[in-house]
């Protein structure tokens, strides 16, 4: 017992996973959500592997070099990166419990995310218009699965952001709401990490 007391007093700066008693709920919730995000990334890795295996299987149909528009992809990337940054600003505003700054940064995050999604859907529509549908080839099936899955995540994120702003407006900065907001920003940053892998592998390597 005394040894525990000493370690509490003596090693404050070096406290590891086992010291200091049970962690606060905020930390446990964020850690649990971190585990979920990692499992989501593992799911994406399976879809990435499928795409990598099938990326040359165009069955005589159009390949990446004919279909992808680098300018559009660059704008999508810029939108998502900027929205990840404004989402970080939103976390800072939430820490300060500053309502106006929170709403403002959330609105910019939402608009940039929506712009990303619009560009992506326009790209899909353009591809389908020239006959490059998911049914055309294994490459296109894998492409639409991978990029569509990321797009679906972004859509869910946008919906989640709207719900969270309604909760901030209705309930204020309660600890419960702050925990949910922290999970949202983790989710949004993780989507940007997946997009980095996606634009590098699918668009930049596949568009050459």
């Amino acid at each position: 017992m005394s040894a525990i007391t000493i370690s509490h007093g003596g090693h404050g700066a070096h406290a590891g996973a086992h010291e200091g008693g049970p962690a606060s709920k905020r930390i446990i919730v964020a850690y649990g959500f971190w585990i979920f995000l990692l499992s989501d990334i593992v799911m994406f890795s399976a879809i990435f592997a499928t795409y990598a295996v099938l990326s040359r299987a165009t069955a005589g149909g159009p390949g990446g070099a004919e279909l992808f528009n680098p300018t559009s992809v660059a704008i999508e990337t810029a939108c998502l990166l900027a929205s990840s940054f404004t989402c970080g600003l939103m976390s800072l505003a939430i820490n300060e419990e500053h309502r106006t700054a929170t709403y403002l940064s959330a609105a910019v995050t939402f608009l940039l995310g929506a712009a990303f999604l619009t560009l992506e859907l326009r790209e899909f529509a353009g591809m389908i218009a020239v006959g490059a549908t998911p049914q055309r080839s294994a490459f296109l099936s894998a492409f639409f699965t991978l990029v569509g899955c990321h797009g679906a995540h972004v859509s869910v994120g946008l919906l989640w952001l709207v719900v969270m702003m309604a909760q901030v407006a209705g309930k204020g900065f309660k600890p419960r709401i702050m925990r949910r907001l922290a999970c949202f920003s983790l989710f949004w940053h993780a989507l940007d990490i997946i997009w980095v892998a996606l634009f590098s592998i699918v668009y930049l390597m596949g568009g050459r």
Binding site: V29, L81, F85
Partner: protein, 131 residues
């Protein structure tokens, strides 16, 4: 006061002190992260479109840039560090990376082997399809 006795949640800032200082330090972290991410992204897009570079080396360069940028995002946006209060987060991440590497490398390896050893050659394939 007992804050650093606890583990840190992923996404948490690492700056103790007043809230104003914390916000400014946090803002600086996000700005550095954004600047590095923009540089790496711009380099990736340039490398993919230019003809100045040795073409067979470009995919490897793109992979390196992508991994570097993911690291930047993890450190500056998700605040995953190697500090003692971050051990659990880093261990979970390391396990995630292991599984991702196994799934991706394993799939590519097995499928490349199948293509080389089991699939009939394309001539044979055409013959079978014609019957």
């Amino acid at each position: 006061m007992t804050e650093d006795l606890y583990d840190r949640a992923p996404g948490d800032d690492e700056f103790p002190g007043s809230r104003r200082e914390e916000t400014l330090a946090g803002l600086r972290t996000y700005l550095i992260g954004l600047a590095l991410a923009v540089i790496l992204t711009a380099t990736s897009f340039w490398a993919a479109s230019t003809s100045l570079l040795w073409a067979p080396g470009v995919p490897i360069g793109l992979a390196v840039l992508a991994i570097a940028q993911m690291g930047i995002h993890l450190v500056f946006f998700l605040h995953i560090t190697t500090g003692p209060d971050n051990t659990n987060n880093v261990l979970a991440l390391a396990f995630g990376v292991l599984i991702v590497a196994l799934v991706v490398a394993g799939s590519l390896w097995i499928m490349a082997n199948l293509t080389a050893n089991v699939m009939p050659s394309s001539d044979l394939m055409n013959l079978q399809m014609q019957h």
